[in-house]
């Protein structure tokens, strides 16, 4: 899907980052729901399955293994989720700047500057 396109791997990467932001937001939203199992997107697997045209990001979403279990069966560890969310936001912005760079490059080439 993304191999020969204008944006290379970054288009698919943006999609995975966006979905991961949603999954991490779901974890944070359910931080106090009893029995909720936290999930996360395996970035590498998701990217590969998107590029290979497989069933996409849903197949690369895994349950998180908690380092400390809680009595109500909830596996959300808020500090880990917040760190992952912040990290993912930065990575999303990185992907955006790669895309912006590519767009600028193409625009300059088209204008012949």
């Amino acid at each position: 899907m993304a191999g020969d396109s204008l944006f290379g791997v970054h288009g698919a990467a943006l999609e995975v980052r966006s979905q991961r932001m949603g999954v991490l937001a779901s974890n944070i939203a359910n931080a106090s729901t009893p029995g909720f199992k936290a999930r996360d997107v395996d970035f590498q697997a998701a990217l590969q399955s998107l590029e290979g045209g497989a069933d996409g990001i849903a197949a690369a979403t895994r349950y998180r293994v908690p380092t400390q279990t809680s009595m109500d069966g909830n596996t959300v560890e808020l500090n880990a989720e917040q760190t992952a969310f912040a990290e993912n936001a930065v990575q999303y912005q990185t992907t955006l700047s790669f895309l912006n760079g590519r767009i600028g490059q193409i625009t300059r080439a088209l204008k012949g500057e």
Partner: protein
């Protein structure tokens, strides 16, 4: 219930509503702490919301809903106080059993949860605005 796939704003927004319900029950509990009544049935009982995950298959996102609000906690404490105008024929009044320190801890956790969801929404909003500015 939802025909279109869930968005990150719905995830955070509905979680905020759920936390608000929890904050309201905590406020009711604290407001009624120390209230007494003439019978065990009429005495105030601690209220707690029951949170339930609402999973959206189409988007793979999960938010949280308040399934119902239940009464929880200890039974009202019987106290002998014949001078109280609300006392029953044996001279007993029933005090609401509200664990105030537990309610305060709950309130702090609720506030933290709400703030986290606000933070998520702000981050998502700014990233989406950045995405819209792509190529400009």
């Amino acid at each position: 219930m939802m025909s279109t796939p869930m968005t990150i704003f719905q995830v955070a927004g509905r979680a905020m509503s759920a936390q608000l319900v929890r904050m309201n029950t905590t406020a009711s509990n604290l407001a009624n702490a120390g209230n007494s009544a003439g019978s065990a049935e009429a005495a105030y009982k601690t209220m707690k919301p029951v949170f339930r995950t609402s999973f959206d298959q189409a988007s793979g996102l999960a938010t949280v809903d308040v399934e119902r609000v239940v009464t929880a906690g200890e039974a009202p404490t019987k106290r002998y106080d014949p001078a109280n105008p609300m006392a029953d024929k044996d001279g007993n009044v029933f005090d609401a059993a509200v664990d105030e320190s537990r309610e305060l801890v709950d309130m702090m956790e609720t506030a933290r949860g709400y703030q986290n969801n606000v933070e998520v929404m702000q981050t998502a909003k700014s990233l989406i605005i950045d995405t819209l500015k792509l190529g400009r």
